[in-house]
């Protein structure tokens, strides 16, 4: 049974329908949100922890969700924030260890047994990882999720013009990386 977001929210507001409605919500959006996180943090175990945190936060705050924005936009925002916060914490830890997150993520891409695709796809992943985090997020939202700029603007609270410029720069950098020497 497929319910619209509005119907799911209405069921969630009924005390005896909370679990059922939330279950439907998780099933509806879990994959999209998981991939948002996974593409940012690369590692499955980290992604698994983060996606669970995201749903716990959604459960805690769904009551206060106001239908000013789309539910998906709101969920996307929580997921992206969770992943970026995780990466920032990791970066702070790495500052103490004289290492960097980017090379760690690159290594994970190379050695991840769950990673598929040819050499060019692998190179694309490494190119994406080389981008600054927020630019990476912008690129992924547009390139993989094909999100319209207006919706991206709602998620990231950034102007459409700035997002277009950021995507443009990101795609250019990736092209340079792909056509450059290994």
């Amino acid at each position: 049974m497929s319910l619209s977001d509005e119907e799911i929210l209405a069921r969630f507001k009924e005390k005896d329908g909370q679990n059922y409605a939330f279950n439907l919500l998780v099933r509806k959006y879990q994959q999209k949100l998981y991939w948002v996180i996974r593409r940012l943090v690369i590692d499955h175990d980290d992604s698994n922890d983060l996606i669970q945190n995201v749903w716990v936060k959604v459960w805690q705050n769904l009551d206060s969700f106001k239908a000013e924005s789309q539910l998906y936009t709101w969920l996307y925002r929580i997921s992206a924030n969770e992943a970026l916060t995780f990466l920032n914490k990791k970066k702070k830890r790495f500052l103490l260890k004289l290492d960097d997150v980017e090379s760690e993520l690159s290594q994970k891409v190379e050695h991840d047994p769950g990673m598929t695709g040819d050499e060019m796809v692998m190179k694309l992943q490494k190119a994406i990882i080389s981008l600054p985090e927020k630019q990476r997020l912008v690129f992924q939202m547009r390139y993989y999720d094909e999100m319209p700029y207006e919706q991206m603007s709602q998620v990231l609270k950034t102007s459409v013009g700035a997002l277009k410029a950021s995507y443009h720069h990101a795609a250019k950098k990736i092209e340079v990386y792909l056509t450059g020497p290994d």
């Binding site: 279950n23 998780v26 879990q30 716990v56 694309l124 992943q125 250019k172």
Partner: protein, 167 residues
């Protein structure tokens, strides 16, 4: 209509990418990451278990106290309680007992009859006089009279032989 809109957005997206990076636009957009089988079938149950475990562990959810309006109210209440406690402690300190040296000095001073009378209230005097009316002497007199009356009654009404039988 929704499909047309999506197609339009896709064309816009493709043209945009082609304009920025022809190499990137020719690459297949595949998801190169994988998850184990059944991961997404099991995830909702894992999430619900975690939420219920958290609810049970917490019991009462106090997170509402962290909301700005409640935290301000709590801060005001705490200030009121601290201020009230301060006043209370100050009042208790003013009722503290007289130092021993001062008490001894007061006891050493001789008291005149006038000062005793001045310090005794009218109520205390009335109570003292009421107690004086029922002195132990009167009570004893009454008891003795009752005893005599009982003896006379026994002598007049009880046969001597029945007392001997009873004993």
């Amino acid at each position: 209509m929704e499909i047309f809109k999506e197609m339009e957005e896709f064309d816009e997206f493709r043209n945009e990418l082609e304009g920025i990076s022809p190499v990137l636009s020719r690459l297949p957009r595949v998801n190169s990451f994988k998850v184990e089988d059944n991961y997404f079938e099991e995830l909702p149950m894992v999430v619900m278990d975690r939420i219920h475990a958290r609810k049970q562990r917490r019991g009462i959810d106090w997170s509402w106290l962290l909301q700005p309006k409640w935290s301000v109210a709590m801060a005001v209440c705490m200030i009121a309680v601290i201020f009230g406690s301060f006043l209370l402690v100050r009042n208790i300190n003013t009722d503290k007992p007289m130092p021993v040296a001062q008490v001894q000095q007061l006891l050493a001073e001789p008291l005149s009859d006038e000062s005793v009378i001045e310090n005794v209230s009218t109520d205390d005097l009335v109570e003292a006089l009421a107690n004086a009316e029922s002195t132990p002497t009167d009570a004893q007199k009454k008891k003795a009279a009752d005893k005599k009356e009982l003896e006379n009654y026994i002598i007049d009404n009880v046969d001597e032989s029945s007392i001997i039988d009873a004993l």
